[in-house]
């Protein structure tokens, strides 16, 4: 029987396999940040252990860092202590780190691919659920907890049961104005926030092959929001072109060896998946969330649903609670939901393509009165690229704030937060209660919808302007 992409990457990394025990899987790249690592380094110290492969580990500061005044010390003493702790741990254990002020600093899931460190067929982990992003390269990449971070630091392996595989077939072409973000929100609405549990989602089909690497990363990034361990996409010419020439990409004869190996990763024609779903790309329109989990979403052209329309009592109760928290009434057209704050950024939509898409909508336009918009590039290099293209000027002229790189308002660990009751259109990945600040209300949207909503002051698509 043929094997899937995920099976092939898994099999190539099994260090040890024994009856009744999980496989011991080798990890090619371990990404670290300040929030989920301090207790892991402490554990090493307490046990008198070292980091087995600092040369396969990379750290950066992203979750806590301010996105303004970064030349000054971090104002919040608790955040500053956590960042200082990461720096000290990396120094003690010899782990490379890109700190605030470095041109390679940024959101961990943006800088890994940008440096060429993420390549097809690799295993990649990080103490962060959005590690699934890197599956866009045909890597098996997944989030882990702090105990597992410690385990990887000490052994460069993880004991794991094989994941099941789900083919997500997306045929046809995405219509104009419909992005990878709309696509993944539609996928999550289709399979549910728990539908992917235990699975690696392999995104397949014409619509996926037609996506850029940035869009593929958006798609894989939110696989976790469907409950999946990981998302993956077969590497192809688009992948190889993206990796080629980056600082850590293979060079010379190594490049040729690598590409030959990468081409062999594609799922076999007779590979069998444990589950399969199909989505018709042609029928998709801009998608937004109305509730407090990413599965509570609907086409922007629709309405806030009536909880009584759910047959399942658990879902009905969840919808009632969500609408109560969100301050929404069933039947309200989503285009009539007013917005206070727009956040453009995050590991989901903080790449150059995302900033270009939003800037194209904002060019020559102004933010609606009373709307605040934060533009937070995913990395320092994304910021510089945008500035060289003049995107920063478009955002500033429109009335948006052009800020420094970091996770920022995606999770509100730094000063960028919603006030209680404020409502955001956000290109991030989670609309959980209080995620962007206690009492804040989040609608997840694409960069295009974020920009159009900033101009109209209500959830909007670019086609709603003028």
């Amino acid at each position: 029987m043929g094997r899937t992409l995920a099976n092939k990457v898994w099999d190539a990394h099994v260090v040890r396999s024994a009856q009744g025990e999980p496989d011991l899987l080798y990890i090619d790249l371990h990404l670290l940040h300040e929030v989920t690592s301090p207790q892991a380094f402490d554990g090493l110290r307490q046990a008198g252990r070292g980091v087995r492969r600092p040369d396969l580990s990379l750290a950066t500061e992203d979750h806590n860092v301010p996105t303004a005044d970064i030349d000054k010390p971090i104002a919040d003493p608790v955040s500053r202590a956590q960042v200082d702790t990461l720096r000290a741990n990396c120094a003690q254990f010899g782990v490379p780190i890109y700190s605030l002020g470095s041109v390679d600093q940024g959101v961990i899931h943006v800088i890994g691919p940008q440096l060429g460190l993420v390549q097809p067929g690799m295993t990649v982990v990080c103490g962060d659920s959005h590690t699934s992003t890197h599956g866009a390269f045909g890597a098996l990449a997944f989030g882990i907890g702090t105990s597992e971070v410690e385990h990887v630091l000490a052994t460069q392996t993880l004991p794991l049961r094989p994941f099941r595989t789900m083919a997500v077939n997306i045929d046809g072409r995405l219509p104009e104005g419909v992005s990878a973000k709309d696509l993944i929100l539609a996928v999550i609405a289709e399979i549910g926030t728990g539908g992917g549990q235990g699975f690696v989602l392999e995104f397949r089909g014409d619509a996926v092959r037609g996506l850029s690497m940035e869009s593929r990363m958006t798609l894989c990034n939110m696989s976790i929001e469907a409950g999946a361990r990981a998302g993956m996409i077969e590497p192809d010419e688009v992948t190889f072109d993206y990796v080629a020439g980056r600082p850590h990409a293979p060079k010379g004869a190594d490049w040729d060896h690598a590409v030959r190996a990468w081409r062999a990763l594609a799922s076999d024609d007779d590979a069998e998946y444990d589950a399969e779903v199909s989505i018709d790309a042609e029928s998709l329109t801009p998608f937004v969330t109305w509730g407090t989990n990413p599965g509570q979403a609907a086409p922007l052209s629709g309405e806030v649903p009536d909880p009584r329309s759910y047959a399942d009592p658990v879902e009905r109760l969840a919808a009632e609670r969500a609408q109560d928290y969100m301050g929404l009434t069933p039947g309200t057209p989503l285009r009539e939901v007013p917005i206070d704050v727009v956040f453009l950024g995050s590991c989901t939509n903080g790449r150059i393509e995302d900033l270009r898409a939003a800037a194209a909508v904002l060019r020559g336009r102004r933010l609606a009165t009373g709307v605040r918009m934060l533009v937070v590039p995913g990395s320092v290099r994304v910021k510089r690229a945008a500035e060289s293209e003049g995107l920063d000027e478009i955002f500033r002229v429109a009335g948006a704030e052009w800020r420094e790189a970091g996770c920022s308002m995606c999770l509100g660990m730094n000063p960028d937060k919603l006030e209680p009751g404020q409502r955001s259109a956000s290109t991030s990945n989670r609309n959980f209660e209080g995620r962007q600040g206690p009492g804040g209300r989040t609608h997840l949207v694409s960069p295009q919808v974020a920009a159009a909503s900033a101009v109209r002051g209500y959830l909007s698509a670019p086609t709603d302007l003028d």
Partner: protein, 195 residues
């Protein structure tokens, strides 16, 4: 890790699905660099509401949580498990757990007992009719037991063994250091290094 064999305690009914780790332990509390002391973080926002289940006197000493499906979704933060443990919980019963949360729980001595949702409904009914009622989770027999309830639960065999033995994962793996080194010798030369 503390061993887990059998636990009996007051159970609290949490009638909610998709209880994400941002609710269990909000981001503000993730700035700490310790592994303990998160009892104040647990359900911080929900505890501000008077009618939240853990604010009821009958459930103030609860050590078993009975929750709706998809418990622990979202962020990979192990802090969510630490907060539950520090508050006093030894076990969570639900029909579905998010994968990363389930993994984290198994490493930090919190039992995730997976049962059919019908069992959750029966436990909810019992705990609401008789607040303060106790529930037993027996890891040897793999059963959830309460008044009128005696049902099997699911837990991965290997995780069960580690919980019963209270084993440190890293020590187990380090026994295979030579096998890891041999694997490293076989890795393709083109793979990247960070430094």
């Amino acid at each position: 890790m503390e061993k887990f064999e059998r636990h009996t305690g007051v159970a609290a009914p949490l009638r909610a699905s998709n209880v994400d780790t941002d609710q269990i332990c909000p981001a503000e509390f993730l700035k700490r660099i310790t592994r303990t002391g998160y009892h104040d973080a647990l359900f911080f926002q929900w505890r501000q509401q008077e009618d939240f289940v853990l604010n009821h006197e009958a459930f103030s000493q609860a050590s078993v949580l009975v929750a709706g499906p998809d418990f622990g979704t979202g962020s990979s933060r192990e802090h969510a498990v630490w907060a539950l443990r520090d508050y006093g919980f030894r076990a969570v019963i639900s029909s579905r757990f998010a994968d990363i949360f389930r993994g984290n729980a198994g490493k930090a001595g919190l039992l995730t007992a997976q049962v059919d949702h019908g069992v959750v409904e029966r436990l909810w009914a019992l705990l609401e009719a008789e607040p303060g009622a106790e529930v037993t989770v027996d890891l040897h027999r793999m059963r959830v037991v309460a008044k009128g309830v005696d049902e099997p639960f699911y837990l991965d065999d290997y995780v069960r063994w580690r919980l019963l033995e209270g084993l440190d994962d890293v020590a187990v793996t380090l026994r295979h250091s030579d096998t890891i080194a041999a694997f490293e010798d076989r890795r393709p030369a083109f793979l990247p290094r960070t430094g």
